[in-house]
Amino acid sequence: MPRRTMIEAIRDAMDVSMGRDDKVVVFGEDVGFFGGVFRCTQGLQAKYGKSRCFDAPINESGIVGSAIGMAAYGLKPCVEIQFADYMYPAYDQLTQEAARLRYRSNGDFTCPIVVRMPTGGGIFGGQTHSQSPEALFTHVSGLKTVVPSNPHDAKGLLIAAIEDPDPVIFLEPKRLYNGPFDGHHDRPVTPWSKHELGEVADGHYTVPLGKAAIRRTGSAITVLAYGTMVYVAQAAVEETGIDAEIIDLRTLLPLDLDTIVASVKKTGRCVIVHEATLTSGFGAELSALVQENCFYHLEAPVARVAGWDTPYPHAQEWDYFPGPARVGRALLETMEA
């Protein structure tokens, strides 16, 4: 089976979708001729023409607002916000328009759009190229929020998102674009070509939204993670030698609560890991759900490891990033509690 980077997998998902359905259009800043600053749309304009893949003005509200109008017309726009940090001007259009159009019009108009955006840090991007705003989307009724962790899932989830009849926020952990990253920033980068989840089938396939994946089965403790933190958790588990079960959530909303609950009821312990800031982060929602659904099975308090509640710093990137040492400490503490 061919191996692809996450960038190639995402590009392939759009290519496959555009080839199958001429209602799929792709646009965003630098997305057309150049193929995007991360090259996720490279070659799509040459293959499908300027009507299907084109450059947009630097105006995120305009990109999402026009995509909503296109979706109301009957197209299926898949737009790129260059960095998740740039999505705030579009937040009004996403939360009050895209998210509610089906509901407020009672299905008279719908909004099948996908809004892709690179998320997370680990690339020395500073405070405006490193944010993880997923909780700002999961808090909004009417959106779906997806965070893939590998090329295979990225392609299947993106095709599923494009085919979904409702608006989907598709957060791409940019530190994973070229290889899995476990937080050991001082070690050589492993490319996706050396990782089994870099195997990406040709053609059409989907990974369903709302289904988590168990990356490691274990009996001692459950780790809930998504995106880059899946690999950080794996490293922490290997380094501590704890028999943990690692769940890669893949979709935050709708959430695969059944998989989470079954695992925590089995292990009796739970550590939640995300790169976004701690307070009111998605981990708070996960922690509450675990408590509500698994209280009588818990042997220890649910622990959260997250980014500190500061803006994402530049020079102190690795002090901020919740790496394997911090995750490992939380695992040990939760095991001893």
Binding site: V25, N59, G62, S66, D92, Q96, E97
Partner: protein, 410 residues
């Protein structure tokens, strides 16, 4: 020599406040028929003056004059009059229903009826409007059932929107009327997107965006003009300048620019100002703009100069911020009176027939109201179910909502 003293902060003020004498001497009203009608493929750079004038067709004697006249038959004009009268009567009844507690909120069109009623007749079937909350004339003039509108206003058991939306936030894809948001300006860029999609699809349908004078200050107005200009989108960008954004006079949004239409000039978009209280002028300019859009000539910006004679909404009291008699002093008159006088002048209408039509329309509106009220009003009779609150957010209800619906016991 320039004043280089202490800096002074500037906040614009309207000419007159409550207690003062209304003064519109700053509104220059060109003679009807005096503004030329360019070809639709005109070079926008040669018609920049149209952004600073006012295109008018009906003169003070009730005659239709000049190059923008002559597009509508007597029957079409009579229908237009009936639409405007219907909208005004509908508004009066629904405003009263709100005061009677049959709904929570209402917004009327008093004085602005020509804008949406005439514009609708310049579009073709399949075209899509992205309206604000003050364009119900688009529905009335397209034959959308008044009972359905009232069911929505009452949030009753027959409300097509299942009680989810504020009164008057209608939606009808079938009638080319995009779901009203309630947020301001968001729909303007969506209209451009819809138009881009139509062009991408090599369709023949066009879009129309709507915005008020106050909301042109929103960044989505800028977004819409950038996208419309860049992609030459087949869209008509309408600005309804009714002078007042709730209590804020139009000078706060307009700033130092001469007119709202002039905002389009920097984008190379042909930008026209039209007498918004002149049914014939509104229709003629809308037709011109729609033809441009349909001929791959791109967007047109149209500013309708009108006056909000009523309150902003049922929650507003204009006497607190403008003279009570200001609307009487408005120099462009009343759209219904002006079209009525024109039809009398044409010999196809009379005061008697007008009074008779008013009575007929009132009967029709009351009959519709009775039917709507048989399905309930906001606090009495049939209403949408609690279950409806959970339905229809997603195409397929996700598990967490299903759990919450069970918790709610429905």
């Amino acid at each position: 020599m320039a004043d280089a003293g202490m800096l002074r902060f500037h906040v614009p003020e309207p000419e007159v406040r409550p207690g003062g004498t209304p003064d519109f001497s700053n509104v220059t009203v060109p003679k009807a028929g005096s503004v030329p009608r360019p070809e639709i493929d005109v070079d926008p750079r040669t018609i920049r003056d149209l952004a600073f004038s006012i295109i008018r067709v009906l003169n003070r004697n009730g005659e239709a004059v000049g190059p923008w006249a002559g597009l509508l038959s007597d029957d079409e004009l009579l229908a237009g009059l009936r639409h405007m009268m219907t909208l005004r009567t509908f508004d009066a009844r629904m405003q009263m229903a709100q005061r009677q507690g049959k709904t929570s909120f209402y917004m009327q069109h008093l004085g602005e009826e020509a804008v949406s009623c005439a514009f609708r007749k310049a579009l073709s079937p399949g075209d899509m409007n992205f309206p604000t909350y003050r364009q119900a004339g688009l529905l009335i003039a397209d034959g959308y059932p008044m009972v359905t509108m009232m069911n929505q206003i009452y949030s009753n058991e027959a409300d097509p929107l299942k009680g989810r939306q504020l009164p008057i936030m209608y939606s009808s894809k079938e009638h080319g009327f995009f779901s009203i948001s309630g947020n301001l300006a968001t729909q303007y860029i969506q209209a451009v997107g819809w138009a881009m999609a139509s062009a991408i699809s090599n369709d023949s349908r066009i879009a129309a965006g709507w915005i008020g004078d106050g909301s042109t200050a929103e960044s989505d107005f800028h977004s819409a003009l950038v996208f419309a200009s860049t992609y030459k989108a087949p869209v008509v960008l309408n600005v309804v300048n009714n002078q007042w954004a709730i209590s804020t006079f139009q000078g706060i949004a307009r700033g130092g620019s001469g007119t709202f239409a002039a905002r389009g000039l920097g984008f190379g978009i042909p930008s026209l100002r039209v007498d918004g209280n002149d049914y014939l002028a509104v229709h003629a300019v809308a037709k011109w703009a729609a033809e441009r859009a349909r001929s791959n000539l791109g967007p047109t910006l149209v500013e309708y100069v009108t006056y909000r004679a009523g309150a902003h909404s049922s929650s507003d009291d204009p006497s607190a911020y403008r003279p009570k008699t200001e609307s009487d002093a408005w120099p462009l008159g009343d759209p219904i009176v002006r079209l009525k006088n024109h039809l009398i002048r044409l010999g196809v209408w009379s005061d008697e027939r007008h009074a008779q039509a008013e009575a007929e329309i009132l009967d029709t509106v009351i009959a519709a109201q009775k039917e709507a009220e048989s399905h309930g009003t906001l606090h009495a009779g049939g209403k949408p179910s609690t279950r409806d609150m959970f339905e229809g957010l997603y195409a397929e209800m996700p598990p967490h909502l299903r759990r919450q619906r069970q918790q709610a016991g429905v």
